[in-house]
């Protein structure tokens, strides 16, 4: 693994390695000194061209807990607002000696371009690109599910909402399929991509029909900023057909968990009672996010890239 660009690039072994490593990283939260020396002397740049609170803070905390030096870059207030190109930004980072770049960009494929263009040599972590992918979110979701459900093999995961615009949904479907889970995506027909045949999951338009067969339900945010295009008649109708309220939650199997990548629209895709219920693991997802991102940064940045060494005697 050189970069983390897509959840689909991960083999089952690689995904499990990241999740197992995250398990060890998570125990750090119980220690008096929440710091590990693994990335001492390495520089991680948080390159955020799009607004983000939790992802950026989570990556920042993860890198700092591993003793890396962190440089935060946001497009607002930088030379990007003067018209600097992605290439020139990358060349600047390279000149500063960035070992790892965590990139969030509004354009799908921007992290891929950074990783493959040769503009810079550091490892690239995709922290969300356009409507394409958000692999660390999928990893932290899988990590959270694994802690609650045990192995994901054969588990039935339901993802509900705006699949068309959701990078979280795409990354989750790819990763969960790799880990052996059976994924169902539920959305109004207008919010599903036209061709779902290459997605390793089943689709449904009827949320109520899949409730009883779900070990975990993941609600996606209704991206209000995109809803001007009239994908559904009204917010109330969306909530009535695809929102998770207490009545729908009551139909879930006993140990099923409720997830949401945040930020939530309470009362829209998820009711406040559900979000605050004991089945909701939404706050835990944020905690786990730091551990998973530590694992990713550790595995990408801690070693040299030559794999010739034999294990120690």
């Amino acid at each position: 693994m050189r970069h983390l660009l897509s959840a689909g690039d991960l083999s089952r072994d690689e995904a499990n390695l990241i999740l197992d490593t995250a398990e060890e990283m998570r125990s750090l939260a119980d220690r008096p000194i929440k710091k590990l020396p693994a990335l001492r002397g390495r520089t991680v740049v948080n390159l955020f061209f799009e607004d983000s609170t939790r992802t950026r803070i989570s990556f920042e905390a993860a890198a700092k807990r591993l003793s890396a030096d962190v440089i935060n870059f946001s497009a607002k207030g930088s030379s990007v607002s003067k018209g600097e190109s992605l290439k020139d930004t990358a060349l600047t980072l390279q000149a500063m000696g960035a070992d790892g770049v965590v990139c969030r960009h509004g354009a799908s494929g921007a992290p891929h371009l950074l990783a493959t263009s040769g503009w810079m040599t550091g490892a690239v972590v995709n922290a969300g690109d356009g409507t394409h992918e958000h692999p660390t979110q999928a990893l932290l979701d899988a990590f959270t599910m694994r802690r609650h459900l045990g192995s994901l093999d054969g588990r039935r995961i339901t993802i509900v909402g705006d699949v068309l615009h959701s990078r979280v949904a795409r990354s989750n479907v790819l990763l969960l399929a790799t880990l052996g889970a059976e994924v169902t995506v539920v959305a109004p027909p207008t919010l599903l991509p036209v061709d779902m045949s290459r997605w390793p999951c089943t689709t449904s338009y009827d949320f109520d029909a899949v409730l009883a067969k779900s070990d975990a339900v993941m609600m996606l945010r209704v991206q209000r900023e995109r809803m001007g295009d009239a994908y559904f008649p009204s917010a109330r109708e969306y909530t009535r057909r695809y929102g998770l309220d207490v009545h729908r939650m009551a139909q879930l199997p006993e140990n099923a968990i409720v997830m949401h990548p945040g930020p939530m629209n309470r009362g829209m895709e998820i009711s406040a009672e559900v979000a605050d219920s004991t089945r909701s693991v939404i706050v835990e997802q944020v905690t786990n996010g730091v551990a998973v991102r530590m694992a990713v940064l550790y595995l990408l940045l801690s070693g040299s890239n030559e794999s010739t060494e034999e294990p120690p005697a």
């Binding site: 060890e24 550790y298 801690s302 070693g303 040299s304 060494e309």
Partner: protein, 188 residues
């Protein structure tokens, strides 16, 4: 025992030798610390954890009281971390009572350069402040690169740098044995 290199793995300690060495180490730990009260055993993965568990069983048999036993992964504290490909982490399990004010006995299979133990001392420093740290190893093969020594040694084994010492334990390898082989010899 002759330190001369041999082409095929040779058994230096068999199962009963290992058992006797661990029993002796358990008694020495109790004697040195005047009982089991202050002692916390921390094994260094992977073989050290199995050895720590066995020493803990022997202490329990002698004293009638169990000592807290855990494992300590030192991967992220190694001084060669940036020189090799990223390695998977092992499990760290600190006993619930913690290590503050205790006597931590680190347990490892082979003491060689001493670099693993240096890393372990750094790792301990991030977890708490023990009253003292002691070191128990099954085999001390010499060639130290740091000023580190073991307090409890199962066997001092003079070796050449060209040789490789392997500790096999039933839990991981199916049988108990300490083997020595030429580096070019049969895979061990």
């Amino acid at each position: 025992m002759s330190p001369a290199p041999v082409p095929v793995p040779r058994t230096v300690l068999d199962a009963s030798d290992i058992s006797r060495a661990l029993t002796r180490i358990a008694h020495e730990i109790l004697e040195r610390n005047r009982g089991a009260d202050p002692v916390v055993l921390l094994g260094v993965p992977t073989r050290g954890v199995g050895l720590a568990t066995r020493i803990s069983e022997r202490i329990a048999a002698v004293e009638g009281q169990s000592v807290p036993t855990g494992s300590l992964d030192v991967t992220m504290y190694r001084d060669d971390i940036g020189l090799k490909p990223a390695r998977a982490l092992e499990h760290t399990d600190i006993p619930p009572g913690g290590i503050d004010g205790k006597v931590v006995v680190l347990v490892d299979d082979v003491l060689f350069s001493g670099r693993t133990i240096r890393a372990a001392l750094d790792a301990i420093g991030d977890i708490g402040r023990p009253k003292a740290v002691q070191l128990a190893v099954l085999v001390d093969r010499g060639h130290r690169e740091l000023p580190i020594r073991a307090d409890y040694v199962g066997k001092n084994l003079p070796t050449s740098l060209l040789e490789r010492v392997t500790v096999n334990l039933t839990e991981y390898d199916g049988a108990d044995a300490v083997l020595i082989a030429d580096k070019t010899g049969a895979a061990v």
